[in-house]
């Protein structure tokens, strides 16, 4: 039984977290950690607060802390460590909980959504990972 669980765990995409994104955070810029660099281009999992932002199509942003919903007259910018999530094409999405776990292909580097929403990390070809416990929240 435990061997089976281990086998499943090995098949799962590695989990990344907001606090492990950057080796150096300075006003003059960010440097990714070696762990993040080694995962670039691979499928990873990340859990964050979902922000359904007008500037991203077929996707959402994940933030470390819950962020003011940016809808409305002023479209608020998101924190510097926000992550863009682009859903897999033609996916049928279940209801997304407030703080989902998402799996996708990690892409490091600045990317602009809409006119001005810049992120440093994108998860492409993404699917939501919604355990029962999460979905109820």
């Amino acid at each position: 039984m435990s061997t089976f669980v281990l086998a499943i765990a090995l098949l799962l995409a590695p989990v990344v977290s907001f606090e492990k994104f950057y080796a150096s955070i300075r006003a003059e810029g960010l440097t990714f950690t070696d762990e993040m660099k080694s995962l670039d281009g691979k499928r990873v999992r990340l859990r964050g607060y979902a922000v359904d932002h007008p500037r991203i199509e077929n996707g959402l942003f994940l933030t470390r802390f819950e962020h003011e919903d940016p809808h409305g007259v002023e479209e608020h910018d998101l924190p510097f460590d926000s992550v863009a999530v682009i859903w897999k094409k033609d996916i049928v999405l279940p209801p997304i909980p407030r703080r989902p776990t998402v799996e996708g292909v990690l892409r490091l580097g600045n990317r602009t959504f809409g006119e001005s929403q810049v992120v440093t990390i994108t998860l492409e070809d993404a699917t939501p990972v919604v355990p029962e416990a999460d979905a109820k929240k």
């Binding site: 006003a27 002023e74 929240k137």
Partner: protein, 671 residues
Amino acid sequence: MTKKIPLLLFAFALFSPVTLTAQSAVRVRIMPPNQAQFLQFQKFDVRIEATAPEGTALGDLRVTLDGRDITSLATVTGSGNAKSWTFRSMYLGIPGARNIGANVALQGSSSSVASAVSNINVRTWQNAEAIGLAKQVNPVEELMAQQPRFSVEGESNDAQLHLGGTVPAFHRVRIDAVDPVQRRAKNVILLIGDGMGVAHRTAGRVLSKGYTQGKANGTMAMDRLPFNGLLMTSSMDSLITDSAPGAHNYSTGNKTNNGMEGVFPDNTAAEDDNPRIENLPEWAHRSLGMVTGVVSDAFITDATPAAMIAHTQNRGNGTMIASQFIDEADKTGLKVLLGGGAYHFIPKSQTGSRRTDERNVVNDFKSAGFDFLETRTQLNAYGAAPNRKLLGLFNLDNMNVAFDKLGLGDPAITSAFPDQPFLAEMTKKAIDVLKQYPNGFFLMVEGAHIDKQAHAMDAERSIYDVIQLDHAVQVALDFALLTNTDSDPNNDTLIIVSADHECAGVTLPGVGNPLYKESARDYVKTYNYSAPRNDPATLNFTNYVDANNDGYPDNPDPDRKLIINFGANSDRFEDWKANWQPKAPSSKVGNIAVANPGDPDKTTGIMIAGVIENGEKGAEGQTSAVHTLSDIPISAYGPGASQFSRVSDNTEAFFYIVNAITGQYAVPTLY
């Protein structure tokens, strides 16, 4: 036969509805708009736009100043159904009512089909001549020769002057019979609590000082400024202003549309070509050699700081605004820039950048002689010396709020930038650098999160920042008390504390009694009529404690806390307890803004229904609290401070500041 022509024309007109419609739909817009006011010699651009329906060809555009044709001073651009006329850097020396008129004809016709007039007011600056500015020539004001109430000094030169080639020379303005008045305020420090209305200030006082037997146990620094008034805050296109025109009024003396700063609107998509208004830093630097400092705990390209020293129709264009900061530093006299928002200063390819180009603005600042700092430790160790210039960017993003910097929220919030200064430290260092310059300074300090956190309806994070700003006010006041009481009458400082608008409709309905930790509704106590008399334990006052004496309550949730409500709100859940982490008050389900279903307050608190557009009938659903129309308090100390002691339009504040600097203000009359 000749008599038939008018009749035929009449008949033609009668049966030509298309032409008539086209004519009546021709519009002419003049910027500056009606009721604009400028200081003598304050520069501003004039732009006149004529637009007509598709397919209508516009003909000549004719522009007048006080009835005199000045069309040839600038070039008409555009064709077909859209034409415009732009004149850059006009400035007027003749005070009083002036007017700019414009007429447009259809192609092939000489008769006007649409016209507009902009009546503007030029306000005197009595000692302009004493300071030497009045000697500047102005190509527009040869017109004065035709206006006998003003004396004009002719001056021959060979300059190419247009006006149809009929006016041969420049003229100089000479203002008669003005005593050369000494400059008065050498320095001006404007502290803006973004979104800070009366209730925010009251709440700051309750949290930081407390009340006993109905009397405050102490006053905040901003309470101690002797002259107090109110400002009206509407923008040019809405009763409710945003932070761009709400700060632009201080720097330009004019209204503009929401989202714009340092400019009037125009009909082009380009964000850097709007008609500009010379701002206070530019005017003070050009005229008097004053220097400028801008300090904010927002990202520094945000609306309020940018409205001081930038010109754009889009407050969101951080790339352009950061570039303007350094490109126009010689015009604005910018010597100190401290805040967050480094992401608009580093090249696009640098991880974390939000620029749209590869420019490294930090390096450009360094090349221009600015010292660059990134941390609180560096800031406090920085030694001010003559002619130093200082750029401090302490966060890629907005700086964190006092509540989190103090460690009252989740420590993870400040973990990315653990070493950020408080506003008071930034203000202190800004003054230390700026005071080394011989001709005085203008310093703007913004407490940005009073507004940002009121939008999010996070009472503690907003009101703790009122206290943070007040500590900066104390630093400014300490400096002004020195300069204003020493033996030198020429080094005095004007301190102004105000806002740009009220945010969130803050109300203070009462004190949360101890039940607030377990009850949803039954604890906001107001009058205390039923309490047994003479029992101190039942008095209805707050019991915040500040044992570490840092000016902030140690525990944001004591047994009796101030209830801070938000009346200009979207739907939200509320349990009145401080939030460990920031949260979204509302979110959208479909197009409708609802109270955030994931809010932990949903189980511990109550749902408070919103009053603003929620999108249920197709309007723009709002998911946070909004700015309100309430007048904002303004407090002042120092030379010229008495001018603020009335109810004024916010554009007047610019003129009060200028008057304080030039020494032209009346001693208040007592009735």
